[in-house]
Amino acid sequence: MKWLLLALMVGTTVLGDVLQSHEMKRAGEQSVSARGLVRILRTIFGRRYLILAVFFMAISFFAFMALVQIAPLSFAVPASAATFVLETLLARFALHEHVCWRRAVGALLVLAGVILVAH
């Protein structure tokens, strides 16, 4: 059960993050002031990909809630770093960001770490 919840959490996090990054760049720079946070909330409801991103993040969050109830937090959080590897790939191929060799090696180290923690 914990692996199913982990897979659900990782898959939906990746989709949510990529959609969020894509849309927030289109929305322009945001402030962390109270007014800025209100503007972020308005931005969310004005962009359908951001609404979809929030939906995926909600699914991911519910899977995380269930996971931390049945598995150690010291497993659940590091194992979720698998998203980093998938997101690096998507940053390169879906968001067309440049991924140099250091970033690629870093992603491989993260993958090795996740395997160690999840073993």
Partner: protein, 141 residues
């Protein structure tokens, strides 16, 4: 201060806030979820009931703060900068899990967390110059 340095300092300061909100939110949420009398199922009502627990609710408030500050950070810097920097919280998560939740964290898990952080730092050293606003890509294509 040079505008780029100011942006970088602002992004790094916000990254620290993002890391703290995420780790303490996760910790308090996990603690609260373990106080519930029953394991949650696929039924959405289970999650709504769980959210009424004070510790679960507090964890969620902190994680909502994390979500909003992270969105602001994502608007200043690329995903490929934000992810490596905030990934340093994995070691902090191990320490918090061991200290407050009394979880067993053995050498293998510490090694795993350190590898994740090292990988993130290596990737981050490539991302900082490349991904903050106002800078051109200088790595090989």
């Amino acid at each position: 201060m040079h505008p780029h340095s100011r942006t970088k300092t602002r992004a790094l300061a916000l990254s620290l806030l993002v890391i703290a909100l995420n780790n303490f939110g996760n910790l308090i949420l996990a603690y609260g979820m373990r106080q519930l009398p029953e394991t949650v199922s696929a039924n959405p009502l289970d999650y709504i009931r769980a959210m009424l627990h004070p510790f679960v609710a507090l964890g969620i408030v902190l994680l909502v703060g994390w979500l909003l500050t992270r969105m602001a950070l994502l608007s200043w810097a690329d995903l490929s900068f934000v992810l490596p920097v905030t990934a340093t919280g994995y070691v902090l998560n191990m320490a918090l899990s061991q200290t407050f939740l009394h979880e067993t964290v053995d050498a293998r898990m510490w090694t795993g967390a350190i590898l994740i952080t090292a990988g993130a730092a290596l990737a981050g050293s490539a991302s900082t110059k490349a991904s903050l606003p106002g800078r051109q890509e200088d790595g090989p294509r």
